[in-house]
């Protein structure tokens, strides 16, 4: 199985998820500034989720770039990742519309956590398929970023019930950690 079709399918799902999130901006009835006010928190959560999906798409590309051959396990690990990403629009809309109430903010973190775990599983599935000389393992080293993200997302869930903005602060922090492109892979693979 070639890598191309897996990439194209994943790109399609992510592209649709990004644009489906936009459907949460319901066109308001009014035409004045007040009509826009309820949309502001939805807009903020949209920006956050857009950036996180962008990061996944970016790193997903780099990761698959090292995988010449795809087997059934990699395919299902990829579908598993897409499953959790597919819940982003719901969580984004719920957190936004409730103005970051505790439970929606915590479940947002839980979905982020599961997506990060699914990403790690996909990474390790590719590494183990590549065998002892895995180019990907060499490039990513010890999964430091991935494991840090998982720990932080895990922390965010209880924090959301203390104060949602503590959790949101963590979501922004994790995004910033990843916005630095994975130069290790870029360097080793020639990007």
């Amino acid at each position: 199985m070639t890598r191309n079709r897996l990439e194209a399918f994943s790109d399609g799902v992510v592209a649709i998820l990004i644009t489906i999130m936009v459907l949460e901006f319901k066109v308001p009835q009014g035409a004045d500034w007040e009509a826009l006010v309820p949309l502001v928190p939805v807009f903020m959560s949209y920006i956050l989720s857009f950036v996180i999906l962008g990061i996944y798409w970016n790193n997903h590309h780099h990761m698959l770039h090292t995988a010449e051959r795809i087997n059934g396990k990699i395919l299902w690990a990829n579908l598993h990742l897409l499953f959790w990403l597919s819940l982003f629009p719901f969580e984004t809309g719920w957190m936004g519309r409730t103005h970051a109430a505790p439970l929606p903010t915590a479940t947002y973190g839980a979905v982020m956590l599961m997506a990060a775990v699914a990403y790690l599983i996909l990474q390790q599935t590719i590494v183990s398929h590549q065998g002892p000389d895995s180019r990907l393992r060499e490039a990513i080293g010890g999964y430091l970023k991935g494991k840090t993200s998982i720990a932080l997302y895990g922390l965010s869930i209880p924090l959301a019930f203390i104060h949602p903005w503590l959790a949101i602060g963590i979501y922004i922090l994790v995004a910033l950690i990843w916005l630095v492109p994975d130069r290790r892979i870029e360097a080793k693979m020639g990007g």
Copy 2:
């Protein structure tokens, strides 16, 4: 006609169907656990349909991998399959929202049945286009899995009216049968 465009189009439709199913999770008004309760059965049926679509996508890939040339019949057999797959979001939402009432559960099975029949027709169309030395026929042998699925889905329709969970048990069973990747094709094609 190259295989690539047929694959890309099918991938696009399946990617969109998966994400359109997510639209059935309407963002709730409330922000507490009770607001999530009505979404649980919709979520369960989403997981089931996501896995089934993933199986179709996976096996569709393996099958088309053996088809070097595409003719008009294959194209229409493929569109026929996509037609039945396109009804998944409706059936998923209906079965989920009615908490697996008999009729929605039975019609879910009926759409699964038609999709399985359409898949078999596509398979046979490719085999007959490849002629006596068909790589695909050699690989799939006697269509055992496909025909078993069709029989089980056919059985599920009356069972749904006795008790919906009998039918849902069958849907899960068929998914498990297919989750085992088609190693015969993988082995023969170098998958």
Copy 3:
């Protein structure tokens, strides 16, 4: 400009249109047969539009297969076609929900007419770009099918006001004319 990106973009739009039409099947509140009754005409119009979009996708593929080079005019002629196709979900839903009332049925025909005109314009744009030795012109001959469709769609608009089913009969007739694959192009191109 390569043909591939134009094909991929057109495929994406058509794949999305097909699945967006499905959104017109609103999941009903009830769980019995009566809940399905209002969906029957929507379903019938969905089948019709699905087949027509399938025909466009099929013939669009064959046509672009002959076009090695794409210029700005071809690109805009293609976007013009996609514009009219993008109105299919609206027309399909309107005709279906109103049980084929005269005006929705007539505007359905008007959109079909404009799409057929746009297809003809795209065809002639490619032919004139290919110059005197155009492979496409040689293959399609006198545009007979396209011009017949346009005449029939034009006829359907007044007929819809006499009786909508006269117009729907014409829509089915035109679909049947096109369901016969364009063997002339297939034969000449080895399609």
Copy 4:
């Protein structure tokens, strides 16, 4: 990183945005001409946005055609452009439904402005990645069209509060400026 995946992803997002805009045409309850009247302004704004998205897609293609290699900065500059484009369906629906009220018309211009700025940033990111012998810089010269568009969109925002149609006139003017294909790039790159 190859250019292809970036193109495919961008194409996917634009294709989905175009079709999501169509969802703003809510199928009316009635079946007479009066039922269509409220849709006319939504339809007009759809045509405008469709043409503008078509222009972006067209020019985006020409621009990326000159970029052999993609780095992380280009990827994020591209996502930034897609972010602003993703707000088109909301703005199109809002401006249409409010019959071009001042604020929706002004925010439509603001989103157009940001998209034009994002396009310029993407262009300059590619140019600076290509270095002193940039094929793209040579082809585009002094960014005249892009900077003119930005100035005009900036002007449209206050004008929308004087009279919305002054702003809409500017949106149409900018579209006309861009509808002329960028022959400089086509000429230098062999299109």
